[in-house]
């Protein structure tokens, strides 16, 4: 009995010490981690959106559709909506889900960035390279057939990486469909402090 108590108390004390140490570390790093995560998101937003002067990650519209929630980030310059960005994930990737950040402006795809992927290095991983991503950019959202040329669309695939290319198109298309469907909600309501007109006009051009 005495022996058992000793086992229990030693393990308890060690666990309590570990807990205290972890609590202290967490308090020390929490803000830095939040800042790093935000900086990561802002970096992706900066890459896909035109020049803006607001904080798009704090000017968002959330839309529930198809069983998941979409977040649309709105970029403004002098209160005018100059572009919208969103993150979209495709589970059609070769090595796992592929997450893309898409920036939309004036009814065109502005820029596309790959956020996360687990594709084969040297083959599927080439989806992160600019020459491939450029094939999506400056195309009209409505007038483009968002599919690989092989599947009857207009996007050229990467040689030997059809599945990865197709997954990127899939992610893009899903997000753009939601965007078109909810465009009014996304671009219309300006934040309360800014003029309501500015938010509507520029962003609403198809």
């Amino acid at each position: 009995m005495k022996q058992t108590l000793r086992l229990i108390s030693v393990l308890t004390v060690i666990c309590a010490g570990a807990g205290a140490l972890l609590g202290w570390t967490n308090a020390l790093t929490r803000d830095r981690i939040a800042a790093a995560l935000r900086e990561e998101k802002l970096g992706a937003l900066r890459a896909v959106l035109p020049v803006y002067d607001n904080a798009p990650d704090r000017d968002t519209v959330r839309i529930q559709t198809g069983g998941r929630e979409w977040t649309f980030y709105r970029a403004r310059r002098n209160g005018t909506c100059v572009g919208v960005a969103f993150e979209s994930v495709s589970d059609q990737g070769y090595g796992g889900p592929i997450a893309v950040m898409v920036g939309v402006t004036n009814g065109m795809v502005n820029r596309v960035e790959i956020l996360r992927h687990a594709e084969t290095p040297g083959l599927g991983a080439r989806i992160t390279e600019r020459p491939f991503l450029r094939r999506f950019e400056q195309r009209s959202i409505r007038d483009t057939v968002w599919a690989l040329r092989k599947d009857g669309g207009v996007i050229d695939r990467i040689t030997a990486a059809t599945i990865s290319s197709r997954a990127v198109v899939d992610a893009l298309k899903k997000g753009l469909d939601v965007y078109l469907e909810h465009k009014k909600e996304i671009t219309e309501d300006a934040p309360p402090s800014l003029s309501p007109q500015g938010g509507v006009k520029n962003g609403a051009t198809p």
Partner: protein, 225 residues
């Protein structure tokens, strides 16, 4: 003198990767580039030194029956600390190492050193053992990472912008894919064994390798001693 011996044994004679062949999960998984290898190695070094110190301090308090859970709690605590700090201060590296940072908990090198060394030796010897083993692990990872990155990507990225790239080299992709890890590790182990047997032969302790390469009868790993 003993301190020094415990310190350098991890670098070559008892190198965790090439001699003890422990911690193969991170060895095969993260050595696709030198940067990842160094990041992983430094994280493991920190956990190894801290866990060795704490285990050595508590070695007379921990009852033998619950020693493994105690060691695991200590190791998991330091791994979580590394995970949090890396996420806060080296966010990009944390992103590329991903799941393999939490997985340091199950790295056999660390539990192995806690059980085989730190729980039986004084604080300063355990410190030397931790530093030596951690550096040996880091260097092993870096060597493997350098081979794979050079062959598979045609570049060497030490840290951030400190990198060299081979111009006009067509990367041999297999080297940075999963099978390339096994092949590179096998080749490096072979080279290490060859060097060891040469060194042993030169110092007059010639040992013929056993006919059947069976771990129980093989003495290759004792050549260096």
């Amino acid at each position: 003198m003993t301190f020094y011996r415990e310190l350098i044994k991890g670098l070559w004679r008892e190198n965790p990767i090439f001699r003890l062949v422990l911690g193969m999960c991170p060895t095969l998984a993260v050595t696709t580039s030198v940067e990842n290898s160094l990041g992983m190695g430094m994280a493991t070094l920190f956990v190894l030194v801290c866990s060795n110190l704490v285990v050595s301090l508590l070695r007379n308090l921990i009852p033998a029956k619950v020693r493994i859970p105690c060691f695991i709690v200590v190791i998991a605590t330091f791994v979580t600390i590394v995970d949090l700090f890396m996420n806060a201060f080296a966010h990009a590296l944390h992103g590329s190492l991903g799941l393999f940072i939490p997985l340091i908990v199950v790295n056999c090198v660390i539990l192995g050193r806690a059980e085989a060394f730190a729980s039986k030796h004084a604080l300063w010897l355990s410190l030397a053992d931790g530093i030596g083993m951690g550096l040996g692990f880091t260097l092993g990872l870096a060597a493997l990472g350098a081979c794979r990155e050079l062959l598979g990507a045609g570049s060497l990225t030490v840290w951030g912008d400190i990198k060299w790239a081979l111009e006009g080299y067509e990367p041999f992709l297999l080297a940075i894919l999963a099978p390339g890890g096994f092949i590179a590790l096998g080749c490096l182990l072979g080279v290490m064994n060859h060097v060891q047997s040469r060194l042993a032969a030169r110092s007059g302790r010639h040992v013929t390798p056993p006919q059947h390469l069976d771990c129980r009868h093989c003495v290759m790993c004792r050549f260096g001693k």
